[in-house]
């Protein structure tokens, strides 16, 4: 290979890369947290006896799981734009990621809920707990402990897919990398640097997720 790497170009652009990395971290973590909350409701909805609730959940999950993320991000930006609804690039990517995260996590959560024996519900009820308390103290902690690993998989996916933000001109890590490489044409260097940063972000998020899970759901993950 007759290519000389010029790493000092990347070092000079370090502040801009970090700005981009921060946006990536921001949008992916936020979309995960919101996605988790919605996913709990979707999972309960899919198992619910109320027709409207379960239809709604089913439709959401089906669309989120079976269409490409690229399509959803593009639709959130240019698709809604055609109807005069203008989301900012950040919000378009954020809502698309929330939509997908919620859809995928809902199925994971449903598996978690179903792995908990029905008898625990009636046992908790007989102790005088109301519906909210049953979920808050008995079901959810166990469910989250069981689905911790599949859930963190989704975290990783979310971080990496935020790179599709480049499609709608979002200034996250990939967008920033694209812009920087066009100034100097040091494409390989910038892409390698971006890959390393993505790796570090992913490791960092997984580390924090493990800590939080241990604290909240008490027990080995």
């Amino acid at each position: 290979m007759d290519y000389e790497f010029h790493w000092n170009v990347v070092l000079n652009a370090w502040p801009q890369l970090l700005d981009g990395a921060f946006v990536t971290l921001h949008v992916s973590v936020l979309s995960m947290l919101v996605g988790i909350v919605i996913a709990i409701f979707l999972a309960l909805g899919k198992m619910s006896e109320y027709k409207a609730f379960s239809y709604f959940s089913n439709t959401w999950i089906e669309i989120a799981r079976n269409t490409p993320a690229l399509f959803q991000i593009y639709m959130a930006y240019f698709g809604l734009g055609a109807f005069g609804i203008h989301l900012s690039p950040y919000f378009a990517v954020f809502s698309a990621l929330v939509f997908i995260n919620a859809g995928y996590l809902a199925e994971t959560f449903r598996g978690g809920f179903m792995s908990i024996p029905k008898t625990q519900y009636s046992a908790s009820k007989s102790l005088g707990m109301n519906q909210f308390q049953v979920y808050r103290y008995v079901i959810l902690p166990q469910m989250f402990r069981r689905i911790h690993h599949p859930m963190t998989n989704q975290f990783v996916w979310s971080i990496l897919m935020s790179s599709l933000g480049i499609l709608v001109g979002m200034n996250e890590l990939s967008g920033e990398t694209q812009r920087l490489q066009s100034l100097s044409f040091r494409t390989l260097e910038f892409f390698i640097a971006a890959a390393v940063i993505y790796y570090l972000i992913t490791k960092f998020v997984l580390f924090v997720a493990n800590l939080v899970s241990k604290k909240l759901f008490k027990g080995d993950i």
Binding site: D2, A82, V168, Q178, Q181
Partner: protein, 275 residues
């Protein structure tokens, strides 16, 4: 034993790759030997590069590719690139040369091998009807967009930075077409684009009422053909090719075909002066 086998196989594979790369003749030889010119063009940038009604590559840059292949006496193979693909396509050997309206900045010339200029653009503001942009400074209060990684994006951003406008009003788009789509949908009030692309788009019924505004101050976008920086002999050939394009009337022909008028004297003079 298995580990020794694994290691020796790896060494053999690396050595084989090393031998293959050592044997490379220079680019000019390679192209003539394989009887094919892989020429990269950005086909998202009318009238320089686009897909015609039959979905075939067409445009000023495509004509230059075909002229070059003809001069070399080889088959022309036009490859569609995005702005960001230009350098990686050269480094990876997918293209031999990129005729893709590449601005010849000194920063980029540290990475890619540039020829003398082959075209000069002006950057121009294109805005939706009623936005009323008389000078470039009027952009301060409107939403502005441009395609990511282009020189006009860089120019706008550095101008905005110098004036202290901030990035709040700015949106970048993935491609030239997306920038026009964003303008059409009203995501932005104005985009920065090139005078040539603007003139083409203004003829379409979607954009006929849109307004061609001021040029980016004090900036001529001078573009060259690029290839690998190390291919000095090939760059020499390309420079002579560009001289012949003017001398043999090929520039005039391509300009007539794609812009509908004769090539301006000022353009030809600045290309002759290499500036």
């Amino acid at each position: 034993m298995r580990i020794i086998k694994k290691i020796s196989m790896t060494i053999a594979a690396v050595a084989a790759v090393g031998l293959m790369t050592n044997a490379s003749a220079d680019k000019l030889d390679d192209i003539i030997k394989k009887n094919e010119l892989n020429c990269g063009v950005v086909l998202d940038f009318p009238p320089m590069g686009y897909f015609d009604k039959d979905n075939k590559p067409a445009g000023f840059d495509v004509d230059y590719c075909n002229d070059l292949a003809k001069a070399l006496g080889v088959k022309s193979n036009v490859l569609n690139l995005t702005w960001a693909d230009r350098i990686p396509s050269l480094v990876s050997g997918k293209t031999d040369v990129v005729i893709g309206s590449t601005s010849d900045t000194l920063e980029r010339a540290k990475s890619a091998g540039f020829t003398y200029p082959y075209f000069v653009f002006k950057f121009q503001v294109f805005s939706k009807p009623g936005t009323n942009i008389k000078t470039f400074d009027d952009l301060k209060n409107v939403k502005v967009g441009a395609p990511i990684g282009t020189t006009y994006e860089t120019e706008y951003l550095s101008y905005a930075k110098a004036k202290g406008w901030g990035k709040g009003n700015y949106t970048s788009f993935k491609s030239e077409n997306d920038a026009y789509l964003g303008l059409y949908q009203g995501k932005v009030d104005a985009i920065i684009t090139t005078n040539t692309n603007l003139a083409t788009k203004k003829q379409s019924k979607e954009f006929k009422d849109y307004v061609a505004g001021p040029f980016v101050p004090n900036y001529d976008d001078v573009v060259g053909i690029i290839t690998k920086r190390s291919e000095v002999a090939f760059i020499n050939y390309l420079n002579l090719f560009l001289v012949h394009q003017i001398r043999d009337g090929k520039l005039e022909a391509a300009y007539q075909k794609h812009f509908g008028t004769s090539a301006p004297e000022s353009l030809i003079q600045s290309l002759r002066d290499n500036k």
